[in-house]
């Protein structure tokens, strides 16, 4: 009967291990409850027809057949890509220049400008909606329409026409996220040694040459990070189209997340909503894989720190 002794010693070891697990458990418990379970349940739900109240009814692949035969679903994918590119690409370029300017020694009140450029990110989305509702107003006196009228362009229905909707939403995305990315770039730029710029200046390099030959190459990992977070973020685009278009969500501006949200919470069709979520899941997985592939390749080919 030596057993008790042995188990006690074991349990001490175990208890250390256990306490470690217990300490990291909050994340895992929360992730299981709010992340893992809903994810698995969506997979399950995508094979059922369910209105949220009545019993679920197994329908096999019907939900997928439905969404793949729905032209609005294709529009939503297309819109997501288009708005994503229109909102992200110019934003990264602009953020890069803004960050360069804020990093420059020539600008006074740099901290004030840094705060100001970050402000849109923390602005209440409802306030953003009101402001952009005024800017992209359908009436001739709306800000954007008034501006265009100076060039003899007749009033545009910003919330209903194919390209204008996308431009309006992309502008909102641009405005809201440019400051965030600027700050990330700025952090990256501050880690670039000043000597490089000084040397370049002595050699007579212009500002643009400095950006092209020093800043951008040194910033490559950060640029990669921003590009990929922005692309994946743009796939989750939801609030902007919702507040700009209202709960009706016209086909011209609907995004994938907005599409599945509308299915679930307006049409009470949780099955098709889950099916759309699964499709989105695979799109994002694919993009992340591409992301990893590219970053790995960059990491291997050059020594970047």
């Amino acid at each position: 009967m030596e057993k008790p002794k042995k188990t006690r010693r074991m349990s001490e070891k175990k208890s250390t291990a256990l306490s470690a697990y217990v300490f990291i458990s909050p994340f895992f418990i929360l992730f299981a409850v709010f992340g893992l379970f809903p994810m698995i349940f969506s997979f399950y739900l995508s094979f059922f027809r369910w209105d949220g109240l009545a019993p679920m009814e197994f329908t096999g692949w019907r939900n997928f057949q439905f969404i793949f035969s729905d032209p609005v679903f294709y529009s939503s994918i297309k819109n997501t890509f288009l708005i994503g590119i229109m909102g992200t690409a110019p934003q990264i370029v602009a953020a890069l220049f803004l960050a360069f300017a804020l990093n420059s020694q020539l600008i006074r009140f740099r901290n004030t400008f840094r705060t100001m450029v970050f402000l849109p990110y923390i602005t209440s989305i409802v306030a953003v909606a009101i402001i952009f509702g005024v800017v992209f107003n359908n009436q001739p006196f709306g800000f954007a329409n008034y501006f265009l009228s100076l060039f003899d362009i007749s009033p545009i229905r910003w919330n209903a026409e194919y390209w204008p909707v996308k431009i309006a939403i992309a502008t909102m995305v641009f405005w809201r996220w440019v400051g965030y990315n600027t700050i990330i770039f700025l952090a990256g730029m501050q880690s670039i040694p000043k000597e490089l710029y000084e040397a370049a200046k002595i050699d007579g390099a212009t500002v643009f040459q400095q950006i092209r030959l020093i800043t951008i190459p040194m910033l490559k990992p950060i640029i990669m990070f921003v590009v990929f977070t922005a692309t994946i973020g743009s796939f989750q685009l939801f609030t902007e189209p919702l507040i700009f278009l209202g709960r009706g969500l016209r086909e011209e501006g609907i995004t994938i997340v907005a599409y599945l949200w509308r299915d679930a919470f307006i049409y009470n069709s949780f099955g098709t909503a889950s099916a759309a979520a699964i499709v989105l899941f695979f799109i994002i997985i694919t993009l992340t894989a591409v992301n990893l592939l590219i970053t790995n390749r960059i990491g291997r080919s050059k020594n970047l720190g």
Partner: protein, 442 residues
Amino acid sequence: MSKFLKLAGVSVLSVSLMAACGGDESSDAATNGGNNNNEDNSNSDTTEETIGDGDIELVFWEFGNTGYDKLIEEYVADNPHVSINLQNSDMNDMHDNLFTSISAGTGAPDITMIEEAQIERYRNAEDAFTNLYDHGASDVEGEFLEWVWKNGENAEGNFLFGLPTDIGPTVMFYRTDVFEEAGFDSSPEAVSELVKTWDDFESVAKEIYEATGKQMTDAGELVYNARRDQSTEQYFSPDGELIIEEHNQIKDAYEYTSSLLNEGLVGDIPLWTPEWFAGMGDGTYATMLAPAWMQGVIKDNEPEEGVWSITTMPEGAGNWGGSYLAVPAESENPEEAYKFIEWLTAPEQQLKAFQGYGLFPSAPAVYDMPEFKEYEDEYFGGIATAQVFSEAAQAVEPVFKGSLYYPVDDEVKQAIDDVAGGAEPQGAWEEAIERIKRIIER
């Protein structure tokens, strides 16, 4: 080890509490202001208050500014065995929470307020609610307007979801100055006589446009709503079949709206936009076909008295807004809950709710009460406004809506919006029908 567990337990708890407190900020008050029958729904904070100290506690979810706390105080004073925990939250949040708790089968209150448009969402969930007929609701049926009562029933008429509180009968608000400028007599009687039918509405619109250059009304949406609400058949039949193409009433309403839009007689000013609010004060449009609760909105945007007045709408009336009180099936005290809501929706209490917060009563007995009848509003030229609204309330036709009523309605609205943007009406209609069929197929 137990110390570790305790510590860990506490940290898990606090983290999950923090997570639970993170609210959803994206409630789109601006786009949904229309579904609220109270004037202020911008406050999304949840407030909670327990009134009375009886042993039987009833949890009561409400939204908007109802002033029910005052009435509850009266009730618990007379019924000391009951206490009521009143929780007020944002309208959309409250309905979403109710949907989630019913779907999960736990967490629903003893009494919940349900907005008239949102009740359609719960239509298929009879199991989740107490049939108020089982508690003697048929005894009070006669106290309410027939169409309001019917809307709280299931299609067969043997299950009652809720007792009606207030309603939103629609009338025609009009600007006296624009009517005078166009050479019309602007008294409510004269305008009511002048715009008796929808054809009159169109011809008056033309005259006003020629004389003043102003448009008859704000947007196609409210014209369409007015005509839609006067239809005896709308989108669905009581057995849930889509009948939008089986009869002409909806198509007629749509075509009427489109033709007014094409003639340029109706504005293209969407509801709840800044220019729509501004238009009320500037007189950009001559009339607004809107419910009783719109009075407050108009008063906020046109401070001058006597500019706006009220008269009946051509060819009848409609309803927009109002609420019901329901008892979810989970309630442990359905009997007490029912007793309370029966009391709260009785005519005497409805009069008080009207006097306090302008909730328009659904019980016609109130319309004959002198305090209600003699209520005059200086702002609208000193006319007995309550009477105009009560006439409208009695003219509403009962109609079956169905659980997908509002998604379908949104698609028709989108077609109207397309027409306003220059699309060809027939094509826009066909596209809307396509979209509607896809919604139903889901």
